[in-house]
C-alpha cells in the first residue's frame, strides 16, 4: 500500500507522467486527484495504463457529475477511479465539462467503462464520443430528461404515470 502524500515517490512519478496535462491536483484524505482537460484525457489514460511503474490497469468506475451551483467551474463533470493491481494504489482523474459538451470515451482503454459511461449518459446526459453503444441503460428509451441532474425534481415530473410529480415549467 502506497503512502500518498505530496512528496511521496508515487505522486512524483504520477506528476511526471501526467505532466502538463494536469490543470491541478489535490490530496484529500490520502486520495490523489488530478484534474485534466478533456482533450488530454485519452493521452493521460493511455500513459497511466501503459507506464510499467504506474500501471493503472483497473477501472473502478466512471462517475457522472453535476456541479450546478457548487462552484464557478463548468457545470458537468466526469470522474474516473483507477487502480493498479500490481502497485496497489488508487488515482482519481477529473474532467470538467460545460453542459452539452462531449467527452471522448475510454472504452477503448478499459472495457469496464462501457456500462458506466452509459449510466452517466442515462442519468446526466453526458455524451461520450466513440462509445460503441451509447444508449440509456436504467431508464426507458423514451424517458425525457436526466434525473440525477440537480435541477431535476426528486418527485419527477407530472405525467400520466406520475400524478404526484412536479409541474414542468414551459420554456
Amino acid at each position: 500500500m502506497y503512502d500518498i502524500s505530496e512528496d511521496s515517490h508515487i505522486v512524483q512519478l504520477l506528476k511526471k507522467v501526467v505532466g502538463t496535462a494536469a490543470l491541478s491536483h489535490t490530496i484529500h484524505r490520502g486520495e490523489l486527484t488530478f484534474e485534466i482537460g478533456k482533450d488530454d484525457l485519452l493521452d493521460v489514460c493511455n500513459a497511466v495504463k501503459s507506464d510499467e511503474s504506474i500501471k493503472l490497469d483497473f477501472l473502478h468506475d466512471v462517475v457522472g457529475m453535476d456541479y450546478l451551483d457548487l462552484d464557478d467551474g463548468p457545470r458537468m463533470g466526469v470522474i474516473y477511479h483507477l487502480y493498479s493491481i500490481q502497485n496497489a494504489f488508487n488515482l482519481r482523474l477529473k474532467v470538467r465539462l460545460d453542459d452539452g459538451e462531449h467527452i471522448p470515451s475510454v472504452t477503448g482503454i478499459w472495457r469496464a467503462a462501457d456500462w458506466a459511461e452509459r449510466e452517466a449518459y442515462d442519468l446526466y446526459g453526458i455524451v461520450f464520443d466513440g462509445h460503441p453503444d451509447l444508449r440509456r441503460i436504467y431508464l426507458a428509451p423514451d424517458w425525457v430528461g436526466y434525473p440525477l441532474r440537480k435541477d431535476y425534481p426528486l418527485k419527477g415530473y407530472k405525467d400520466e404515470y406520475n400524478p404526484f410529480g412536479e409541474e414542468k415549467e414551459d420554456e
Binding site: H28, H60, I85
Partner: protein, 404 residues
Amino acid sequence: MSENENIEDREELLSTKKVTISMGPQHPSAHGVLHLILEMQGEKILRAEPDIGYLHRGTEKIAENLLYHQFTPYTDRLDYMSAMSNNMAYVMAVEKALGIEGDIPDRAEYLRVIVAELARCASHLLGIGAWAVDMGALTAFLYCIREREMCLDLFEMISGARMTCSYMRVGGVRYDADQKFFDKVRDFVRILPEKLDEYNKLLTGNRIWIQRNRDIGAISAEDAINFGFTGPNLRASGVPWDIRKDTPYSVYDRFDFDVPVGEKGDCFDRYLLRMAEMRQSLRIIEQALDSMPDGPIAVDIPDVVPPAKDAIYDNMENLIHHFKYVSSGFTVPEGEVYSAIEGPKGILGVYILSDGTEKPYRLKLRVPSFVNLQVMDFLSKETYMADVVAILSSLDPVFGECDK
C-alpha cells in the same frame, strides 16, 4: 473444407433461422428481474444483451436528499443477500469523509468483520444454491438454504432483522453482541465446514455439475481485469487481488487468511472459488472471536454517534442529544472520498462528494453486480442456451444492487 463440414453447414442453414428471444424479466433462472435479449441461430447464441433497470429506484438521487445517517437502511436494499457488507461499505466511506476511520474502537471493527464475513458466507451459500437449482440440483439448493438460515438467525440475534440489518452506524455499530451470540457463531463455524464437505459430495464430483460448468464461460485474467471483473469472478481467472489483503481496511490486516485463486476462469472455477472463500471467511471469523477485544462499540464523538437507546429514557440531555442527531444529522467536511470494500460479489465502492452540509452533494455506488454483468455478451457468444443459465448463475448478480 471436407465434404462432411459442408453438409453440416447446410443443415444448420436449412433447419434454422436467426431468432431473437427474450429471457426474463420474469424467468425462474434470471436471478431477479434481468431481461436478456438473446439472438440465436438454432441453439447457438449469437448475441446476449442484458437489458437492466427494471428495479431501478434512483438510490443515488435519494441519497442526495437524505441525511448521512438516514441513508444506511437504503444500503441494505442494494445487495439484499448481504446487507451487512453494504452497511460496511457505506459507513466506512462516510467515516473516511469525516476523517475518523482510524478512531473506530477495536470491538466495533471486530464485530463488523464477523458480521461481514457471515454475510459473505450467506451470500455465497445462496449463490451456489440458486445456481445448483438452475442446473437441476434441487437437493443442494435446500441444503445451502438450510445453512444460510443459520447466518440469518445470527443476524437477527445481533441486529433484530434477518435480511435488512442496518446494523452498522457511522462511527461504529449499533448493538453490542453478548456471549450467546458468540457461542452461536462458534457453532456455525464448527458446523459449516462439515456441510461444505456435504456440498462437495453433492456437486464437486457430480458428473452433471461438471459437464454443465467445466470450460463454460471461461475468461482470461487479462480480459477479466479489462472488463472490470472483481471478487470471486476475477480471482477464478487467476488474479490474486483481494482488497482485504492488498490494501487492508478495517482490521483485516490482523487476521491470517489465504486468497484462493482459480486457473481457467470458467464457471466451475468460480464455483470452487466460492466454496474455498467460505472456508477462509470461517478462519477470519474464528480468529476474530478468539481475539475479541472489550471496550466501546462506537467512537466517542457526540456529533456523529447518538447515545445508547437505554440511556435516553431517564436522562433529559441524552434525549435532546438523540433528538438532535435524528432530526438534523451531522455535517461532513468538504471534499471527495472513494472507499471500497471486498463485498461477497466483488468490489463495492462508495464515492461521496460533500459540500460541507448534512447531506451528500453526490453519492455514487460502484456496485459489483452491474459491472460483472456487462461481460454477459462476451461470455455467452457461441455457447448454447443452457450455458447462458450457468454463466449467469456463476456471475451471481443481484438486481437490488445492479439496478440501484
